[in-house]
């Protein structure tokens, strides 16, 4: 096991709640999320679709300009509260200090510009001359292991494969050397052999430049491979948080346990997988209750599940669980 030097806080979310006005009321997408990501750390937010993990990522970058969105709580980046700073201030942070890569690189690259041009453009924003920028781009392409970088800078996005496009995205993000990288499902669109290459590149970045990475994914395999800490999200809340070993070896919340047991594992061939019945609810009415209640096997045993929101219970250093049952078993 390697030790990642865990430094001071890079990104903090404090009681972050995000709601959307919809015609029947308010939809609670993210509820009371607290999270700390340190320099040089890979923090994975894991959950099923609709749990709010991408909503958090987009709001840290302030990419959503939805007037029906209501944000409460604070987003603190490098000690500065960026929740309500004016847009020109945010522009200095977005891209420069916080980089982001998305699931489908073809949507994020401009199809009418050559891939190299899009990276040199980012470099020239920082006042580099064109000549220098081109040389630096070639160097960056080499960093993300694009073969023949001198030729590839002239290629249009459609001439590149999915893996190559994602590498261009990573190079573009790296060009401005941000201290935080948000990776929203970075390998979901890629084949496994290519996924393994991209994960290795991300791991190397974290070790070489001490980049903090907020990894948004639903794939536990990737998490087991590169994450340091994990937050498990369900219906807008982080229900359990801990190191990758806490979560994989000793999951406490019924949802985390159920989720881990649904994974078709390699060493088992029982021909049946444990499934979680039911679906993730849409929360349009905030009530004091546990949001996992309707799918939880234990909720009938405890009346508090229907009447109180569970508190965060600490299970030793950094392992936090929100469940009424955990309050009794606390160590």
């Amino acid at each position: 096991m390697e030790t990642v030097d865990i430094g001071k806080a890079l990104l903090q979310l404090e009681n972050l709640s995000i709601d959307y006005r919809i015609n029947t009321g308010m939809l609670s997408a993210v509820h009371n999320v607290n999270l700390t990501l340190r320099h040089g750390e890979i923090y994975a937010l894991v959950g099923e679709s609709g749990c709010g993990k991408s909503t958090i990522a987009h709001n840290v970058m302030r990419l959503s300009i939805d007037h029906n969105e209501v944000i409460n709580g604070r987003i603190i980046f490098e000690g500065q509260d960026i929740t309500s700073i004016p847009e020109p201030e945010m522009e200095k942070i977005r891209g420069k200090k916080i980089g982001m890569i998305f699931q489908n690189p073809l949507d994020s690259l401009n199809p009418v510009y050559r891939s190299g041009t899009q990276v040199t453009e980012a470099l020239m924003l920082d006042g580099m001359s064109k000549k220098e920028a081109v040389l630096r781009t070639i160097e960056l392409f080499r960093d993300v292991q694009i073969p023949n970088p001198e030729q590839r800078i002239a290629a249009f996005p459609h001439e590149l494969s999915g893996g190559m496009r994602q590498r261009v995205m990573i190079a573009m993000m790296l060009a401005r050397n941000p201290s935080l990288l948000i990776a929203d499902e970075p390998t979901t669109a890629l084949d496994v052999t290519v996924e393994a290459q991209i994960l290795r590149i991300m791991k190397r970045l974290q070790q070489k430049f001490r980049t903090g990475i907020l990894l948004i994914t639903h794939n536990f395999g990737i998490v087991a491979e590169i994450a340091d800490r994990i937050g498990i999200m369900y219906a807008g809340e982080i229900v359990e948080e801990g190191t990758v070993f806490d979560i994989f070896k000793n999951p406490v919340h019924p949802y985390s346990r159920a989720l881990l047991s649904t994974l078709p594992r390699y060493h088992k061939s029982l021909r049946r997988i444990a499934a979680i019945d039911g679906n993730v609810p849409r929360i349009t009415e905030k009530r004091a209750e546990c949001r996992f209640r309707n799918r939880c096997p234990y909720s009938s045993e405890d009346e508090r599940c229907a009447t109180q929101s569970p508190n965060a219970v600490s299970f030793g250093s950094g392992h936090i669980v929100r469940c009424h049952r955990a309050e009794e078993d606390r160590v």
């Binding site: 084949d191 052999t193 395999g221 989720l259 390699y266 499934a275």
Partner: protein
């Protein structure tokens, strides 16, 4: 399971797609989507066909369904030759061979209720409407959904429910064979497990034959009796799930299995053998190993000839020059 009755039998199948090199140019390039492909699927077994994007696995599934025409070779489905079948025979084969596609939202008609989606194949084959409606309700129960969903529209259902409807629609014709093209890759993990369990229950109950096409090794290893590994249009290895996962012979299979993230953080730093390059990089010559440019063990002969398919242990086939040396 009757082991020796091949319900699907594919022999030397070829399919090429011709592309223009540039828009309006006369220069053409050829993609061998399926290249000299032979394989048998026995009655009542679950066969997983695995490959990366561009390996030709979906083209193969489409040829089996009669949606794409093959250039050469033969396919026998349940005793009927597909490649020169007439309209009537084709219709009959299709009623015995059902399909479930990857994206459930895209293959249900958004303007039709669940009931009309499920009854449609029955009505087309001349089943009276009343009878068809009764069967639709029954099919819905079989996929563990309430009958009240019969009058819902697809957008009112979740992804898992939509996929169940697609399965119900496939089942309603009482097929012998089901071709499942990435049946769970659009679903969340907890729902994926529900759908896989349902598929396995149905397979046992009606002794169906499944051909599951996917790129997800963890799913396929879990449900299949046998696994076929495809790379750039060719079958590179075929054997029981046990053979493929624990005793894989072909370098491609080995590295594919190695690339899948292990669900255990304690094994995260094991140095992995990895491929350079990406699928799609193949030698210029057609008669060469398709993997030669990416393979860490590539030798001169790999670029000069196609490796022979060999039965290394009974029922375990692989094509690689390294294996001929060993024998």
């Amino acid at each position: 399971m009757s082991e020796h009755n091949a319900i699907i039998s594919i022999r030397n199948l070829n399919k090429q797609f011709v592309l223009s090199k540039r828009l309006f140019s006369r220069k053409k390039s050829v993609v061998n989507a399926v290249h000299d492909f032979s394989m048998d699927v026995y009655e009542g077994e679950v066969v997983g066909l695995i490959g990366e994007s561009g390996s030709g696995k979906t083209t193969l599934a489409r040829i089996l369904l009669g949606l794409t025409e093959a250039d050469e070779g033969s396919i026998r489905i349940d005793g009927t030759e597909l490649t020169n079948a007439g309209r009537k025979q084709l219709r009959e084969i299709r009623s015995r061979c059902a399909v479930v596609f990857q994206d459930p939202a895209a293959n249900l008609n958004p303007r039709q209720t669940v009931e009309s989606s499920i009854t449609r194949p029955l009505v087309i084959t001349g089943v009276p409407r009343r009878e068809a409606k009764r069967k639709a309700a029954e099919a819905l129960r079989e996929v563990q959904m309430d009958e009240s969903y019969l009058f819902s529209y697809p957008h009112q259902l979740s992804g898992g429910q939509q996929q169940r409807i697609a399965i119900a629609r496939a089942l309603v014709m009482r097929p012998k064979i089901m071709i499942l093209d990435e049946p769970t890759s659009a679903l969340d993990i907890s729902v994926q497990a529900q759908v896989l369990n349902l598929l396995l229950d149905l397979q046992e109950e009606y002794s169906l034959t499944y051909l599951i096409v996917t790129h997800d090794l963890s799913v396929i290893r879990y449900v299949s009796d046998r696994i076929a590994v495809m790379y750039m249009g060719r079958l590179v290895e075929y054997g029981t799930t046990e053979d493929i996962i624990n005793n894989s012979l072909h370098p491609y299979t080995k590295i594919l299995i190695n690339s899948v993230p292990v669900l255990d953080p304690e094994h995260r730093n094991n140095e992995k053998a990895m491929f350079s390059g990406e699928p799609g990089e193949t030698p210029e010559k057609l008669a060469a190993c398709r993997l030669a440019q990416r393979c860490p063990y590539a030798m001169q002969q790999c670029f000069e000839g196609t490796p022979p398919m060999q039965e290394v242990t009974p029922g375990h086939f692989a094509e690689c020059f390294l294996l001929s040396d060993r024998r």
